[in-house]
Symmetry: C2
Subunit: 135 residues, 2 copies
């Protein structure tokens, strides 16, 4: 296994840990997945971008108050590693209560000297009709 | 100016070139902004993710058929550079015809030996009510 394949495998595991924490609504596990810096960014579907770990952590706290069953079926996972940065594109097929929705997600990870690969950006957007388009 | 500040400035210019090409609906200029690899990804608001330059270029071609006035007012720009990768988070406040909408965007750039900084990922999502949420 080359270094690059080894890195991709570790990033894939970090990405999996993110969805496991999300599915279990586990704030402690989510905290381990993320970098805690001021520049981390999280954009939930339909939300404005949240910057800095304090705001990002608060958003997970609020989302995790929701008690409905939440299950992810993850498809189309692609990992790109460039040096100490990596990004994952993935489709989150979500069963949330009795609804099924698909969210296109982009997760960026950065390798840190002491903590290894940590999430620095999560951006999710619902696939399907939205109020606004760019084009 | 440190190397890192210099890099951020060049990335900021590349990001600006993306929006100028978008606003002018200039496919040639858009083509210069992007890496042309098979791993580039573009997620327009509400769309599934498109992977590979052929699909991404086609999407710009289709979007640029729209003849309405398109104007971007860009706010909350943040640039992060880590080695040969950089990402920009930015709010696209768009005047499209007679509608005003805000799109939260994440743009990833990679530095290439011959071509310099090129866009490898664009992900935009409308801020406001959407059909689906993750939480």
């Amino acid at each position: 296994m080359s270094d690059s394949e080894g890195d991709a495998e570790v990033v894939r595991a970090a990405n999996r840990a993110f969805y496991e924490a999300f599915e279990r609504r586990d704030l402690d596990a989510m905290s381990v997945v993320w970098d805690h810096g001021e520049n981390v960014v999280c954009t939930h579907p339909g939300w404005a971008s949240l910057r800095g770990w304090a705001k990002v952590a608060s958003s997970w706290f609020v989302l995790f108050q929701n008690e409905q069953r939440l299950q992810f079926i993850l498809t189309n996972e692609h990992v790109d590693v460039r040096g100490d940065t990596a990004w994952v594109t993935i489709d989150e097929n979500i069963i949330d209560g009795d609804r099924g929705v698909t969210v296109a997600a982009l997760n960026v990870f950065a390798r840190e000297a002491t903590n290894g690969w940590r999430m620095v950006v999560h951006h999710g957007s619902a696939v399907g009709p939205t109020v606004a388009t760019e084009g």
